[in-house]
Amino acid sequence: MKKRVLFLAALAVLMMAVPAMAIKAGGEAVVSYKEDVVTLDPAIGYDWQNWSIIKSLNARLMTYEAGTAKLVTDMAEDFTVSPDGLTYVFTLKKGVKFHNGREVKAGDVVYSLTRVVEPKTQSPAQGFYHSIKGYDDLVAGKTAELAGVTAPDDYTVKVELTSPDATVLHVLALNFSSVVPKEAVEKWGDDFGHHPVGAGAFKLAEWKLGQYLTMVRNPDYFVAGLPYLDKITIQIGLEPSVALLKLQRGEVDILGDSIPAARFVKIMQDPEWSKQVVSGSDLQTGYITMNVKMKPFDDVRVRQAVNMAVNKDRIVKMINNRAIPANQPLPPTMPGYDKAYKGYAFDVAKAKALLAEAGLADGFETELYCMNVDPNPRIAQSIQRDLAEIGIKVNIKSQSQGTVIAAGGEPDQAPMIWSGGMAWIADFPDPSNFYGPILGCGGAVKGGWNWSWYCNDEVEAMANKADAMSDPAKQADREKLWMETFIKIMDDAPWVPVFNETRFNMHSKNVSGDKKAFIDPVHIPFNYSYIYSNAVQ
């Protein structure tokens, strides 16, 4: 009996504690970054650090459930898809307001999507919208309208496609699809990127170029209870090691550039500070490309041999275990990742045998391009050492990012590239985004991003088929098809998948938030709406 009373009392205390655990809004946070924020125009911004700022300032038709890769509606109330998968009709939520106080109407969605595709916007995202009807005409300058996006009434948006496209909802959830008011864009012209107006959780309050910018809570935000913080200050120009010292002193709350490599081990071993670190996997893969058009990488046996010769575990150790070894192009958190696939095992003897079989028993000499920012040259050296074991003499070409990208875009310039620093991070959580530009035939063009110049018609057909499977009921089949596609690519071995990075974000004791705030697969690097201040709890 006594036990039961005690149990009931404990239960009562717990139940009383539940409301107290609800997060109280208010407070501020300071985020540090080394580099300047370039632009906050959602149609243009495509950088690591402005990505989550733009996401917080804007709203779009679709978004993801916080902390997950699950698509949900954002400013759309709901949507329907026609049976042929060619027409999507969205109904807008009523009363959603831009930061300038005006209500968002369907016409704004039409304007914003047209603006991204319009050539004069120079959006780096233009290509994402290729399946929308009228895309080609707008890109070619034959018309000023995107025929496939229309507004039958103020709260209805119709998106028509030329062919079924399973990625279109993801595209409509991208930052680039943010809905912006025409009057603000026209008022500021090219400077709109410094005076953004959206309908997101935060609005821009002040921006001192090169110093800081502040975002404040949008009181009219249409998602009840969000965001938690009243104000976020983005401090610019802070060297990561200085930012860490500032965080430890309570002057900075979130390290935008993560923990500096030189201090990483020390922080993780520190019982006090390691508690402030949140980690999770990124939708990212670091890989070595081998140019299949250049000798001797035109021989699949050579590429397979290289796959077997690279010691991925050592590379991962070298970067303080801030990654896990990879065996296929897709990262483990991406749909379509094959858990059962083992990849090429690290086997020097077998690699040598394969080279001998390819008539290269004495090895050969080649070049490995890499970006000249730490840790990439060190990783390149490790690869160089591994390949020397099987007789391949690698000359490292450590160069600026732009130079490496340009070399990769030439059919006969870079035999091998280590992708670090430029590695592929998914724009949206769908396997399609890991194929087209970097492994598909469309990317294997001059100036393209398919640096291995791999183009396999059979694989391309499989990818096209998977992309066309837009019926949600066939999602499992689609994932399976992608799985087969990527394993087939691995048989051809145009890449050595090396690792999938783990993200480590550190915050001060002044702020908190669970994983969805600090490690969100799409709100990279942070989901600012879910970070809260401990000072007001």
Partner: protein
């Protein structure tokens, strides 16, 4: 004097024009395509060419250069490829911070260099001379990045005397200015020392001493006035060094100057910004030399007669 002024002025303009040609050529010769960087990873060839056309980058180089110079004369340095903002706005927003940092650095390098040089010269070969020379050697050779981080750790983090980087007050200026000034201070002390030694061996110094002028007055008035000339000339030349040093120091301390802007523009191959910053840096270097030429005759009457 006026003729000299005009001659030097036209020379300076010629140098600046030369700088624009060289920078223009170099930025276009780098083996990277800014349009590709701008267009994004999913862009089609058509999109890339479209952007290239909009930016006028499909024109022959001489046409592009001509257009650049014509715009420049009208005060237009173009728009940043990446930020879309006018380069003039970007540079002007960063300029006050860099000028402040340079002024602070000059102050500290003179504060360190001149007294250390004088003491070294007067007490030549003694312990204090050896000490200052060793310090100046360290100052000249220490990498600014390392000095900056050590000073931040010591004076800002451990002792909490000064802010941990950032910008805004005089307290924020101290550490970056000292870091940038240390190298110059090292050079100045060596230069001041050797210049002072030369001057102290001159006949007029001997005469002053023989006439019973106090040693303090001999050194500080008769000696320093002549010995400081090369140091003044050096300040003008130093401005170029400051521009290079500013990139490192601004980066360590989060100082929002043009050094930081330059670094970022180089990373993203933002050609209009790279050219704008280079031109502004060149203007400063030319202006520094120009001013040094003007100021030196005011200090040394012999140069005026020449």
């Amino acid at each position: 004097m006026l003729v000299t002024f005009l001659k030097r002025f036209s020379q300076s303009l010629g140098i600046l024009l030369g700088v624009t040609v060289i920078t223009f050529m170099l930025t276009y010769l780098i083996p990277a395509d800014p349009v590709r960087m701008l267009a994004g990873r999913s862009a089609s060839q058509e999109t890339v060419e479209n952007i290239r056309h909009q930016l006028g980058l499909d024109q022959p180089l001489p046409v592009q250069y001509g257009r650049y110079v014509v715009n420049l004369i009208q005060g237009d340095m173009g728009r940043s490829f990446k930020q879309k903002t006018e380069v003039t706005t970007l540079v002007l927003s960063r300029m006050p911070a860099t000028l402040l940092l340079m002024a602070g650095a000059i102050f500290f390098e003179l504060l360190i260099g001149i007294p250390a040089g004088i003491i070294g010269a007067v007490r030549r070969g003694r312990k204090s001379d050896n000490f200052f020379m060793m310090m100046s050697f360290m100052g000249v050779s220490a990498p600014q990045f390392v000095v900056g981080l050590i000073m931040l750790y010591l004076f800002a983090y451990r002792l909490e005397w000064l802010p941990l980087g950032g910008y805004g007050t005089l307290a924020h200026l101290v550490l970056p200015a000292v870091t940038l000034g240390i190298t110059g201070g090292g050079w100045y002390s060596r230069m001041m020392r050797s210049s002072m030694i030369d001057v102290l061996l001159q006949d007029y110094i001997r005469t002053a001493r023989a006439k019973g002028v106090s040693p303090w007055r001999v050194v500080m008035v008769h000696g320093m006035r002549n010995a400081v000339l090369p140091v003044i000339a050096m300040i003008g030349l130093d401005i170029g060094f400051f521009m290079a040093g500013a990139i490192v120091v601004e980066s360590v301390y989060g100082w929002p100057g043009i050094g930081q802007l330059a670094w970022q523009a180089i990373q993203t191959i933002d050609i209009p910004v790279i050219m704008g910053v280079t031109l502004v840096a060149a203007i400063f270097i030319v202006l520094g030399n120009f001013l040094a030429d003007l100021v030196m005759p005011l200090v040394d009457p012999r140069l005026r007669q020449n």
